[in-house]
Amino acid sequence: MRVRLVGYEPDLERVCAAAMRSCYSPHPGYELFTHTSQDKVLDGEKIFDAERIGGLLKRALELGHYDILEHNSITWLAEADEKEILFLMESSKFFETSQIDEKRWLITTNLRVLVELARSANHLPLTNELVGTLNEAAPIIASALAMPTARG
């Protein structure tokens, strides 16, 4: 395998959804993040369960409200050539790369960058490979990116 996912923060989709909701709620991000059962009452807020998180993230994708997808980092060990790495670095200020040896690189970015790359017309096979590893770290986003969009 050319790309191997080696690191990401736990619950990163819940973090992004809480960050999104915190913009429109009197309750702060962490209170929303932990509002996972009826035991805790947050005035005016729905329980922050999988359905709620999925709804918020899908809404963010529909609105193009990608900023909230920046609250995370995802790191891969990848075999790539310098042209591919240069392409990634030129695409966003959020790419961090470290060269391990002649062929291998450590690549870190966030969900926002992946979404934008995946939805742009001009992307490399490496982008698809990075997105293809998201099922475990970010299943909701991975599923949304796998679906056809209006932009193709």
Partner: protein
């Protein structure tokens, strides 16, 4: 009411380095500084402080909206400790001379904003009355490298007191969460003030280590900074344990 700094999401470096070791890659400190992210929920901070925080790059911010969150539901304010509660200043309004303290002025602006909203003025316009002291919540993410830059600037003795208190609180939180990444601040080499406080944070983090390790996964550990690390105003500091 105290401000809060909650470190609730961050790169799991033991896991990351173990995964890399499996692939025969050893990650040094420089690599860890570049490849990771720390996300804080900063609660009850003033707009004056948040304006300073969002100047930092590269970082990500999600801040509570003043348009969508109604004033009556969340409007608090933070009074600078340097302004005495009983200090009054003379003002003149439509020929009426008054003596007002800080709290009185906050009450006036809040009443005026609520009054505008009650008369049908849109929240996006009524909020123009809101002062810098009004509190806000903001979710903020930065890489370790950027955080060190932030700490070097904002932990300095000449930084503004509120953001300096927040920066020290956040520094203590990341020291506890990721000791393999965060050590003494580079700025400590040039400042006795920073050097002394870094040493206090060392002690506090060491004392908190057992309690943090024993915190159930997913729960918050409260890191007690006061009174060892003197802050101008109270900042409750928490780190989520994985």
């Amino acid at each position: 009411m105290a401000s809060k700094a909650i470190l609730f999401s961050y790169t799991n470096y033991p896991q990351l380095t173990a995964n890399l070791q499996e692939a025969g890659v050893k990650m040094g400190t420089d690599g860890m500084l570049r490849h990771g992210s720390f996300t804080f929920d900063l609660q009850g901070i003033s707009r004056a402080a948040s304006h300073q925080i969002v100047r930092h790059r590269i970082a990500s911010f999600s801040q509570q909206s003043q348009r969508y969150v109604r004033v009556t539901r969340s409007y608090g304010y933070l009074k600078p400790p340097g302004i005495p509660e009983d200090l009054k200043v003379p003002v003149e309004i439509q020929g009426h001379k008054l003596e007002l303290n800080f709290t009185d002025v906050m009450d006036l602006t809040r009443q005026a904003e609520e009054g505008l909203a009650a008369k049908g003025i849109k929240a996006e316009d009524a909020r123009y009355l809101r002062p810098n002291a009004a509190t806000t919540n903001i979710v903020m993410s930065m890489s370790p490298r950027q955080l060190i830059h932030f700490f070097n600037l904002r932990c300095a003795p000449d930084a503004q007191w509120e953001i300096r208190d927040l920066a020290w609180s956040m520094y203590a939180a990341v020291r506890l969460a990721a000791p393999q990444v965060f050590g003494p601040l580079p700025a400590a080499d040039e400042s006795d003030y920073i050097k002394k406080r870094v040493s206090i944070v060392d002690d506090l983090v060491r004392k908190g280590q057992d309690g943090f390790s024993g915190t159930p996964p997913g729960e918050l550990f409260r890191l007690e900074l006061h009174p060892m690390l003197e802050l101008v105003h109270p900042v409750e500091t928490f780190v989520r344990h994985y």
